[in-house]
Symmetry: C2
Subunit: 143 residues, 2 copies
């Protein structure tokens, strides 16, 4: 698998409130791939990944470190070919990840599954025929 985080999904309690925050408040450009009332996509630039002790991260953010259950965020790794989805999930599980959901046809027309990293952070591995790739591997969401 290429070192790439293709998509960050934030779980939100009120989609319209969250859209107002990101689109209107922060000025993020919302993509035409968004589906009103269901899901919103934003075009953002590149990203780096860091690992840092959880309790220090909480401390840095001035948050209490306690937290249980679903954290409300999933990372996604998108692949160019449907056949790669199972390979990446297998690689992650072999590396110490945990299978959350075996890959399957998704009702949105793609093929995807989930694994959790050793700390439980969920990653979706997805083939999405509606999201083309740029030459550099980033997703090319429509404007």
């Amino acid at each position: 698998m290429q070192p790439r985080i293709s998509l960050i999904t934030l779980g939100v309690a009120d989609l319209e409130r969250a859209i107002r925050f990101y689109r209107d408040g922060l000025g993020f450009p919302m993509s035409g791939a968004s589906v009103a009332g269901e899901v919103a996509f934003f075009r953002t630039g590149g990203v780096a990944l860091a690992l840092y002790p959880r309790h220090l991260l909480a401390h840095d953010a001035n948050l209490a470190p306690e937290g249980t259950g679903f954290g409300g965020i999933a990372l996604a790794h998108n692949v160019r070919a449907k056949e790669e989805v199972d390979d990446v999930i297998s690689q992650a599980v072999a590396a110490g990840g945990r299978l959350l959901k075996a890959a399957r046809q998704a009702d949105w027309g793609g093929y995807s599954g989930y694994f959790a990293d050793p700390d439980g952070h969920p990653w979706e591995v997805a083939w999405n025929p509606f999201f083309p790739f740029a030459a550099d591997g980033t997703l090319q969401l429509p404007p």
Copy 2:
């Protein structure tokens, strides 16, 4: 603020275990900016941001939706000039975000603060003089 997620930090319980997973298991290239025993950075490609109802996201990942407290992930928005940090935090708070930590000198030599989005997802806003920017706004971590 530009629509950019500069850095994703995963809070981990065992840093060495997490490094083994990402570096050795998944093959992510670890950056020389990493500090042994303290923090690890990986060079990854671009990212998109999506909003999706939290309970549906949990369901999609085959996870129970319950979860309280710190979720173990922080997003970061890095800026080119120290002066921009307070501006971005102010903009976020004005847009409905919550101030978690007023910006201050960081012991790693930069200047940063935190806000939470309306769902509580923490964002660091940081000026880091050691992480240069690419022309496209992504961080240029050393190889």
